[in-house]
């Protein structure tokens, strides 16, 4: 278990980042990572040879998908606007907090499968083949989802230029 500690511990921060960006909610993201680590510990000796990072992301992603399914079936979806802003993170400055909030809100409008591909590749630096492995889909599908995710996020960002998401429309004074 010593080697596990050495190989897995440095990866926990990026697992947290992926989970948070995927789930948006800090507490449930950390719960997910905790679940992931527990599973990783119990299955350490059964893992197939290969990259530990991709293996951990696979476990985490499967847990996230289950979570999404459960939430969807329970219908307990938390609308973006009602989530506690602090639960997103402890951004250093107020300004950064605004951008952070804004980017996550736009990211959250992407379908889950597109969001996952974009995060794994653009943020977590997984190769296309690794991402395909983690998500259990062919590389071709990874590429098309990545493409759709980027187009979609661009629309969100450009749409924001005309109607910023962080500006609350004033009630019309009549």
């Amino acid at each position: 278990m010593k080697d596990m500690l050495h190989q897995v511990e440095p990866l926990i921060p990026s697992l947290r980042r992926y989970a948070r960006a995927l789930m948006r909610d800090r507490a449930s993201a950390d719960d997910l990572v905790q679940d992931c680590l527990e599973r990783a510990v119990s299955r350490w000796y059964q893992r197939r040879d290969g990259d530990v990072r991709a293996w951990l992301f696979t476990i985490l992603h499967n847990l996230a998908v289950n979570q999404f399914r459960r939430t969807a079936s329970r219908g307990r979806h938390i609308p973006i606007d009602e989530t506690n802003k602090d639960s997103f993170g402890e951004a250093a400055s107020q300004e950064h907090k605004l951008i952070y909030q804004d980017v996550l809100t736009r990211l959250a409008r992407l379908p889950e499968d597109q969001r996952a591909v974009l995060l794994l590749i653009a943020v977590e630096d997984l190769s296309y083949a690794e991402a395909a492995n983690v998500l259990g889909i062919p590389v071709g599908t990874v590429m098309s989802r990545l493409s759709r995710a980027r187009e979609r996020l661009q629309q969100e960002i450009e749409g924001a230029a005309t109607a910023p998401a962080n500006v609350v429309p004033m009630r019309s004074v009549k």
């Binding site: 948070r20 059964q46 590429m143």
Partner: protein
């Protein structure tokens, strides 16, 4: 110059800095000549930078106590231990309590044929499937040696069932002791960590050919059958409906040895 055409995949790989240097130059040249595409790709690169910058602080946060890996390892280590002792205690109580001086008659009254095989498979599942340290003795990476070993001990060519189309990957296997001689056990798991066990051994004259028969003990269910003197049982902690197709698949594959 004859360049390979630039694909959409190339453009994304350009954004993700995943291209070989030569191809990267080709794409860069292409983008110089196509400002519209360059604008779109520039926007994608901007997104990538933005996401990375905005999400970076999450990875800098101090880890909460719940994510202390050393502690998770420690608490896990105690769990299989307790479970292992529970199983051992049950076995000891079973043998010591109910057994003891009636041991001789117990053995004589022990079941034969398919019923025995089903019990052996269930016991193997109960003992080995919850094991976190060493559920199998030989891992899937040593399948060839595993097959050679169990085949020589069973005096019969054993084939490892392939259940990956059904979502179960081979973890490995081991030889297990039964009252009817050695048996080969193979363990599989799916992406959610659910494990199943396939046990096989020669039937030694009883129930040499038997139809697919369900069995269950608590929430551990399974199917046992025998073909041409070789018995099989597939066991898992899952509804029988989900195990039956797996058992059918194992049976089909075993018949084509």
């Amino acid at each position: 110059m004859n360049h390979r055409p630039i694909t959409e995949d190339d453009l994304h790989a350009y954004v993700d800095q995943a291209l070989e240097p030569e191809r990267r130059r080709e794409v860069a040249t292409y983008l110089d000549d196509h400002p519209d595409v360059a604008k779109r790709i520039g926007a994608f690169s901007g997104q990538r930078d933005l996401l990375r910058t905005v999400l970076a602080p999450i990875a800098e946060e101090p880890l909460p106590a719940a994510l202390n890996l050393a502690r998770i390892i420690e608490s896990r280590r105690q769990r299989p231990f307790r479970l292992g002792w529970a199983v051992a205690a049950m076995l000891l109580l079973g043998i010591g309590g109910a057994g003891g001086w009636i041991m001789r008659s117990e053995i004589q009254a022990s079941p034969n044929g398919l019923v025995a095989l089903a019990q052996e498979a269930t016991s193997s599942y109960s003992v080995y499937a919850p094991d976190h340290e060493r559920p199998v003795e030989m891992r899937a990476s040593d399948t060839a040696q595993l097959v050679q070993w169990v085949s020589s001990r069973l005096h019969h060519p054993v084939k490892v069932p392939n259940l990956s189309p059904s979502g179960y990957r081979l973890m490995g296997g081991r030889l297990v002791a039964t009252a009817h001689g050695p048996a080969a056990m193979f363990m599989f798991d799916d992406d959610h960590g659910s494990r199943i066990v396939v046990l096989t051994r020669p039937m030694n004259g009883t129930d040499e050919n038997a139809p697919m028969t369900p069995h269950a003990k608590g929430d551990v269910a399974g199917f046992a059958w025998a073909d041409g003197g070789i018995g099989y049982s597939l066991v898992g902690q899952a509804p029988p409906d989900s195990l039956r197709p797996l058992a059918n698949e194992v049976r089909k594959q075993a018949r084509t040895i």
